[in-house]
Symmetry: C2
Subunit: 217 residues, 2 copies
Amino acid sequence: MTITITAFERSPDGGKGLARDTRVRWALEEVSQPYAVRLVSFRAMKEPAHLALHPFGQIPTYEEGDLALFETGSIVLHIAERYAGLLPHDANARARAITWMFAALSTVEPPILELGSAKLLESDKPWNEERLPLVEDRVRGRLRPLSDRLGDAHWLDGAFGAGDLMMVSVLLRLKSSGILDEFPNLAAYLARGEARPAYKRAFDAQLAVNTGKSRAG
Amino acid sequence: MTITITAFERSPDGGKGLARDTRVRWALEEVSQPYAVRLVSFRAMKEPAHLALHPFGQIPTYEEGDLALFETGSIVLHIAERYAGLLPHDANARARAITWMFAALSTVEPPILELGSAKLLESDKPWNEERLPLVEDRVRGRLRPLSDRLGDAHWLDGAFGAGDLMMVSVLLRLKSSGILDEFPNLAAYLARGEARPAYKRAFDAQLAVNTGKSRAG
């Protein structure tokens, strides 16, 4: 059964890999599943055909036979449950790996998204310069305990898995901010994630889309 | 095997049910599982014993035999997978229900948390009055498509399930803001959630903790 995902026709980041289809591509590469990609324009994302797949008019989506999913976390979890390679067999270890997926998305990422909003959407506001350090401190408030827990370990809970895939993906958003340099073990963790062959294939695939589009445009 | 969760010794909201243990209590009530509660003070939450359970020093946590979990989303998913009542049997419908859990936590809740930060942490800042409408608009940007998708349905995808439990819990944070009144079907959806006997039992249980503490203190 063919797996089809959606991705930006032209990613807002120009191919830095921060669009969420990269997370799904990475998961599919880790479990060695081929997939097709349907590119969607910003206009088409808000039209009925795409909204039927994704109520919030975003990417990625996931189609496989008569199953249609949205939400990166849910898609990655589905892939991890369906194909071997991203979740341990032991039930308790599996529940802990899923815990780290949720921790990445609902504890660590929200202040990072807020920092992104401050930089992207409020850069012209008179308060931005004074406010940014407050938002950065909220990010540090999540990174510090994460760094403490990771310690010298390579991954969050034993072997690399879906929880690490999601946490590395979330931390990637901070790469250009310099904040990760304050937590050397997290910077090294990020680098370990980026060095995985499956990540590199996912990154290259999304980059090819964006480079191709750039040339065409 | 006894299930033990943790909750605030004294909730910052004084018992309005917005602390995240309410979500876990609600899930346990829906699947008719008894549970014990260990109350944790703000100081104890940052001490090694609790940090071993919850790296970010928060509540709730979940212990059951040799399994220890943190993260509300992961705990509710674990309960929904282990006990009948919160996830459909059909595999595709089950994946869609989990999708709504992730949508609640990683698409709808982040701007709501940002609104909470603006109101709680930045209320004394000179920019707050001018900035709040921007943040409220980000919340509306999530509520509008959610309202469109829900339409006249009672729940997000067929029968009530884990996705609704999480979405209602997230929307509860907006109750005092007035924003939900702009989306009558979401306000009615919230009211349907609050009317569930399992929710009422969960709400009353957390209220009893906070009322008891108020009396004692």
